[in-house]
């Protein structure tokens, strides 16, 4: 049996709407397997400078300390650039998982690209003893290649939404704030050692994301889900933060049981909230069909 056959009919319809408006298939199934780990990127930057390391070793064999220091330093600079670029690429793919938030991050890729250019220029001028002009030319080609292959980060804070009016901006801001709370919730879940509680928190995060998808799908739902956004999401985030902070200091069974009870209640509330939004969606469609039917009857088409 396929996934779509397992999905309740009302959920299947909303899923289609989400795809239509957002152009992205939402992750509504909390039991779905985690997405595959992104493969390592930026390997080229680790591989290309290896001859410089060999050069440093040859210098060591020849008893040339100046060559060892120069080549060793430049190789270390290349490795730092490659590491920063890899971290930047990882952060970028993690960013793409977020739907409504664009976090301000240190432009790691850009710093990696600039360091690659600097290391290339130093290698050309210091190690190979070419002129400054040629060194700068090599650096420019390296940075152009870096930009085309990996890209520099855009300046400023990119916006997740193309909002076209005041109302849409309000909805976008509410979704962004709610997603930030879910990010904090995920962060708190990572620090909790108890696997059951961790899974429960992650499930709540997944349910929360489903509700946010639903709101993005039909922004009018924001007003119905206001209580969820302002009371429950805030509450669970604060409780999870508090538990994550205190459970390491005081390992109390009672505290754990209380936290479990809260999570079970929140799971139920989130599920009810999601079902309520889906039901409203179906009711709205029924009303629309009824209105259309009456209109067709009035005009004598049926």
């Amino acid at each position: 049996m396929t996934d779509s056959e397992n999905t309740p009919p009302e959920q299947r319809r909303t899923l289609g709407l989400t795809e239509l408006i957002l152009g992205i298939k939402p992750d509504r199934n909390p039991n779905a397997p985690a997405p595959a780990k992104p493969r390592a990127k930026g390997t080229l930057l680790f591989v290309l400078p290896i001859p410089i390391l060999i050069g440093a070793l040859i210098g060591l064999g020849a008893g040339r300390l100046d060559v060892v220091l120069a080549d060793g330093g430049i190789f270390a600079l290349f490795m730092a650039a490659a590491d920063l670029t890899r971290r930047g690429l990882k952060a970028e793919s993690a960013q793409q998982i977020l739907r409504f938030t664009r976090l301000q991050r240190v432009p790691l890729k850009t710093i990696g690209g600039l360091l690659t250019g600097l290391a290339t220029a130093l290698a050309a001028v210091v190690s190979v003893q070419q002129g400054l002009g040629l060194g700068l030319a090599y650096a420019a080609v390296a940075m152009l290649g870096f930009h085309l292959l990996y890209g520099f980060e855009p300046l400023g804070r990119p916006r997740a939404f193309a909002t076209n009016d005041e109302r849409a901006r309000k909805v976008a801001a509410a979704l962004e704030e709610a997603e930030r709370k879910l990010i904090d919730l995920d962060r708190a879940a990572k620090t909790i050692a108890n696997p059951e509680l961790k899974i429960r928190l992650q499930r709540i995060g997944s349910q929360g994301r489903s509700i946010l998808n639903q709101i993005a799908d039909r922004p009018t739902d924001l007003f119905r889900a206001r209580k969820f956004l302002s009371v429950y999401l805030d509450g669970v985030q604060q409780v999870a933060d508090g538990y994550a902070r205190t459970h390491r200091l005081a390992d109390s069974r009672e505290l754990e049981q209380n936290f479990r009870n809260v999570l079970v209640t929140v799971e139920q509330v989130f599920d009810e909230q999601h079902q309520r939004l889906l039901k409203t969606d179906v009711m709205d469609l029924d009303i629309q069909i009824e209105v259309l039917k009456k209109q067709l009857e009035r005009e004598g088409i049926q």
Binding site: P51, A139, A142
Partner: protein
């Protein structure tokens, strides 16, 4: 009919394969060439 507000998500764009290939060639040419020259300088 309920009022709908359009929210368009900006999806990140990846440069085309040809552009990335050119980038890889340029990076290999500059960094790789300078590195090999540095290896044979002694």
């Amino acid at each position: 009919m309920p009022e709908q507000t359009q929210i368009g998500l900006k999806t990140p764009t990846k440069p085309p394969f040809g552009v990335r290939l050119l980038g890889g060639v340029l990076l290999t040419f500059s960094v790789g060439l300078v590195s090999c020259q540095a290896m044979f300088v002694l």
